[in-house]
Amino acid sequence: MTLSRRSFALLSLCTFAQRLLGQQQGIATRDVAAQPKPAPSNRPFNARFTDVAKEAGLRAPVIYGGVDSKKYIVEANGCGCAFIDYDNDGWMDIFLLSGTRLEGDPPGATNRLYKNNRDGTFTDVTEKAGLKHAGWANGVCVGDYNNDGFDDIFCTYFGQNRLYRNNGNGTFTDVTKEAGLWQSGPARWGAGCAFVDYNLDGHLDLFVSNYIRFSFEHAPVPGENSTCNWKGVPVNCGPRGLPTGRHTLFRNNGNGTFTEVTKQAGIDAATESYGMTVVTADFDEDGWPDIFVACDSTPSLLFMNNHDGTFREEGVTRGVALSDDGMEQAGMGVGIGDYNLDGHLDLFKTHFTGDTSGFYRNDGKGNFDEVTRAAKIGVETRFTSWGAGIVDLDNDGYPDVFFVTGSVYPEVEKRLPQYPYKTPRVLFRNLGDGTFEELQFQAGDGVSAAHSSRGCAFGDFDNDGDIDILIVNMNEPPSLLRNDLQAGQNWLKVKLEGVKSNRSAIGARVIARYGNKVQAQALISQSSYYSCNDPRLHFGLGPSAEASLDIHWPSGLREQYERVSANQLVTIREGKGIVPNKGWKR
């Protein structure tokens, strides 16, 4: 008897080869077919985005690794940014992270804090604020960890993460060591981070995702093995082939210090993941915050809160860990919002080129159905995608989807021009029927411009009642997309101040009812890609002149406000009601 070596069975071969083609590089992508684009709706879209970064004074480039090639993955992933009102004047200031270069810190490589001059311009106050620091920064999250009324900043690094305490006088102090957050031992790769009061004691705890265990000494170089090639071009290696990171949870002791509780909380049970952006919210609406971690080339993680200081990881079971065919994806950025206006928080996750982004509809119990194709988001697979938001950009009452894109391989386009390093931003407008329409050129030059972007943050820097967008571009100045929205639609902004809850009110969930619609939003300290949005929740109301608000505070208090007039910011203090706004002028 002679057994054939292997039968050349075409079906299995082709199926195998398709999967193989999707996995022949360091990053998981599926090479899926894009959905055909439906016919245009021809509905007007009234938001126009103009990049005003230069006029606004945001001119320093965000240094991040090599410009024309990247030897290591450390240079490729880039960093996030934040809208933060660090001086409580009612105007959003800007905090931008930065990387460095393999050969050492070039001049100008530093994180930057820009103070809002309230006239459309900003002033770089980095040095004065004590925030000058160069390194391989990745993520930023903002929250008032010591409940003193001023928002503090936590930054993750490949290297040493940093906690900057806001002194309340325009300066910050690096309190990493005294807060107990100093890491000894080999450098770790802090990636996503989030302030979250997981035990509901009124103090913000801290979750930090880690990407990979990396060292320059041991890292392979481009072309060295199969994870260091993309489409046949030698490129930086990973994350596949490199050891996974280890995520960390720190409990706030209430005295300015933190204690690591990773093991006790059950976080360390979830291993083997390349963690990236972190989003915390009460997905199953049980009053306790859960933690979602977008993971690159490994299943994403959803830690459900057990109400006793521990978590259970249920990403696969709840439908947010894998693609709809059960495969790993390159999870990078996360948007959170209520796209279908059912009062529940949905998730949007960005992926690598050749794959669709993932759109996950929440049933209100923390179970998700992937609706990417049903929502017509699957029409776009061209770009490696990063920071994202589910945000109402035209105030029509239906949250849209926006994300930024950019390749991680600058060297590829020289050999394969069809894969450019700089690619445009992507905007999907919500058609109000559960589907979206991609707008490539109808939303202004700020959207169609090509950059290699990473983090982005959504906020209203000019307090004009619409959402603007701050974007990190690799080795370029950032973009600041000013939204010039035609008047006609209404809006409402909600700023929350915790009293029994943490002062930042992070973890609060707000349900707005307007017209016949209901929309949920959550106050969070990180989303998009390693970035932090304007903490004032923004609801587009369409033609509705008022809205009712249902506020679920982290403390468990539930407050309702009826018939709140549109086109204003309301500041609501927990248990006290609506209080005067700080510095808000229009």
Binding site: R5, L10, E272, T317, D325, G326, E328, A374
Partner: protein, 426 residues
């Protein structure tokens, strides 16, 4: 009866058989006539042997020869359960019948009783230590049983002493399974040099090239084969598949068409073209659909084409209840009815059922896939989702473990596949 014996002795089987049947008409339970007729029918490979042998066993239930013959006949017809039942009643005599032992071993293998199969072939080899075929058979069974090191040890004496092409071909597979790709390639190249007319060797090389993403190297070798054997349909087929991976769709299509012209009965050319249509038109499902529908019009009994139609319609994400959704669902069902073992169709059907909220039906389809491939990630994932939705949670933890292991295994295998690349010499 005596007449039958006489004719048998003269080698006139036809007349002998007539004589035995005549005897059996007079006395249906006459054992010598039954045995004589059964012997002749068995040797002729006739299906009429079985009822005669069974008749013998009714009269003499422990008749070893009848059990032996029935076992071999059952194995040849693919009925291993019956074959094993008969083999198990033979006893030690089985060891002295190489053909029977081999059939028994093949059945063990088919029934996934791999360790039993290995024992059988070890017995076969120890009774025929100098027979290269027995040694190769054992090595092949060890390889199929995922014991590549054992297979290499078994095959080593043949590999070290001027092996024939069959041994070299098997040796290539054994080396590859032992992660020794350079030797796998070397010995396969040597086999091709030794017997350049054997098309299977080029196909093996194409497979090896596929495994290591060395598509161009595979094309070059298949080209060499086609220079020798320009009429070999399977080589066009293999090259077409490699061209698909190189995104050279026109060349692929041309090769698939040529393969079909050369050998219309060769399976899968329609499937190949369907797959090509799906690849080529992946950004245009409507065009892919048209292409598949045109092929279905010619071959309405082709399960794979029905599956492709279901898969393409699934990508269009039609709403449950819509005509397109229903057509996709029905196409998947049709594919399965035509070819129940087509796991891809079960997976697509499971997805349709999940989308339609028919979670119990989705779970059933997933289980059918997992019966065939316990590591199918899509089936495991969809089963987890279906069970969650039906509220049947108890099985989920175990399924999560299986899914995690399947993922890890896939990642590891990917790394192993990618460790070596075949290159075209400049």
């Amino acid at each position: 009866m005596l007449q039958g014996l006489a004719y048998s002795g003269k080698g006139d089987s036809t007349t002998a058989l007539d004589s035995y049947h005549h005897a059996l008409k007079i006395s249906p339970d006459y054992l010598p006539a039954l045995e004589g007729a059964a012997q002749i029918e068995y040797e002729a490979g006739s299906p009429d042997a079985a009822p005669l042998l069974e008749h013998v066993l009714k009269i003499r239930p422990n008749d070893v020869t009848s059990h032996l013959m029935l076992a071999i006949l059952a194995e040849k017809s693919g009925d291993c359960e019956t074959a094993v039942n008969h083999f198990s009643q033979i006893g030690p005599i089985l060891d002295s019948h190489p053909e029977a032992l081999q059939s028994y071993g093949v059945c063990m293998l088919k029934m996934k009783r791999n360790d039993d199969a290995i024992r059988v072939f070890q017995k076969l080899m120890s009774s025929h230590p100098d027979d290269a075929r027995c040694r190769r058979a054992l090595a092949a069974v060890q390889l199929a049983s995922e014991k590549p090191q054992d297979a290499l040890a078994t095959l080593r004496p043949l590999l070290d002493s001027n092996p024939d092409v069959d041994t070299m071909r098997l040796g290539s597979a054994v080396y590859e399974a032992n992660k020794d790709t350079p030797d796998a390639v070397r010995i396969l190249r040597d086999a091709i040099v030794k017997d350049p007319m054997q098309t299977g060797l080029y196909v093996d090389f194409a497979q090896l090239a596929m495994d290591h993403q060395s598509f161009q190297a595979g094309v070059e070798m298949v080209n060499a084969g086609l220079n020798r054997q320009p009429g070999a349909a399977e080589l066009y087929m293999a090259r077409g598949v490699l061209y698909v991976q190189l995104a050279e769709y026109e060349k692929a299509e041309s090769d698939f068409k040529r393969a079909e012209q050369l050998n219309p009965s060769q399976g899968m050319t329609e499937e190949a073209q369907g797959m090509l249509a799906e690849e080529q038109n992946q950004s245009d499902p409507d065009q892919a659909l048209s292409s598949v529908r045109a092929k279905l019009a010619d071959k309405p009994g082709d399960a794979f084409l029905w599956y492709l139609q279901a898969a393409i319609l699934s990508k269009k994400s039609a709403e449950p209840g819509s005509p397109e959704f229903q057509q996709g669902l029905e196409s998947a069902k049709r594919a399965i009815s035509l070819q129940p073992s087509l796991t891809a169709a079960h997976n697509v059907l499971a997805k349709y059922y999940l989308d339609a909220g028919e979670n119990a039906l989705a779970a059933r389809e997933c289980r059918l896939v997992l019966d065939q491939n316990p590591s199918d990630q899509s089936a495991l994932y969809h089963l987890i989702l279906a069970l969650r939705k039906t509220g049947d949670q108890k099985e989920i933890p175990e399924l999560l473990k299986r899914l995690a292991k399947a993922r890890q295994d896939a990642t590891r295998e990917e790394g192993e596949r990618n460790r070596y690349k075949l290159v075209v010499a400049p």
